[in-house]
Amino acid sequence: MSQSTALPGPGPVAVPPPRRGSVYRGVEGMWSWVAHRITGVLTFFFLFAHVLDTSLVRVSPDTYDRIIETYKNPFVNLLEVGLVGAVLFHALNGIRVTLIDFWSKGTRLQRPMLWVVLAVWVVLMVPGVYFMLQHTVRVMFGGAA
């Protein structure tokens, strides 16, 4: 990022105004790092709960079925969309991080790779959200979707 100290006004390179409101200036790289952290921590906390609820298969079929009904609640169903979105971002961005570390062109292409990550995320989430919420929408609004 060798930004020249060009004067403001028309010119070949538009110099962005100084960024405020953040101690970091890493821009895309920093925000992808923040998002990677948050999605990772949230997923880890969910995993703790998920191992416990799945362990109920060992107690009795009825106990397990009663707890698993929670996952079918419309609000919790929405949270699952959030979980899948978080895990999918973490996975795609994790591939990007690995490529930055191991691929000779990775560092140079880290920014375009983030746009690819976000594009793939959107492309996969659109049908994903549709199928995940299909049942809930049908039950709540009757016949829709």
Binding site: V41, F48, L52, S55, V57, Y64, D65, E80, V84, A91
Partner: protein, 143 residues
């Protein structure tokens, strides 16, 4: 270190090309292996976890078709038992290693850091232990 001329202002500063000294056995490659583990386990988890989410949440009615019988049917196959066991271990270790980094980044006092790491270790032992036990001792005739 053994420069012919060693003025007081630079005394104790190693020469740029000086051979690396051993730091009293405190050097280990642990953090490098931890870094490598995150990449390797991450690649495997992409397949295991995204496959799991696709089957459990998206395909064929998603979460609404899951019940005890569904789980019993899946764990009748060693393939899905191994899948789930590997996913459990890798996800817990990958997640715990990530959280270890987060704790090390933000804990300000040594005591806080120590107890958060202990709590983390306890949660990993509990989930990995319990999850492994459940996969290996699942009884499809329980009903």
């Amino acid at each position: 270190m053994t420069a012919a001329y060693d003025p007081p202002a630079t005394r104790g500063i190693e020469a740029p090309r000086a051979p690396r000294r051993k730091l009293g056995g405190r050097r280990s490659n642990m953090e490098m292996y931890s870094w490598l583990f995150m990449r390797l386990s991450g690649i495997v988890l992409v397949v295991l976890v995204l496959g799991h989410l696709l089957i459990m949440n998206v395909l064929d009615g998603g979460v609404h078709r899951i019940n005890w019988g569904f789980v019993a049917g899946r764990w009748a196959s060693p393939f899905w038992q191994v899948w789930d066991l590997l996913m459990l271990w890798l996800a817990e270790l990958h997640g715990a290693n990530g959280l270890r980094t987060v704790i090390n980044d933000y804990a300000r006092k040594d005591g806080t850091r120590f107890w958060l790491l202990m709590l983390l270790a306890a949660s990993v032992l509990l989930t990995v232990g319990l999850g492994t036990l459940v996969i290996f001792t699942f009884d499809p005739t329980i009903s």
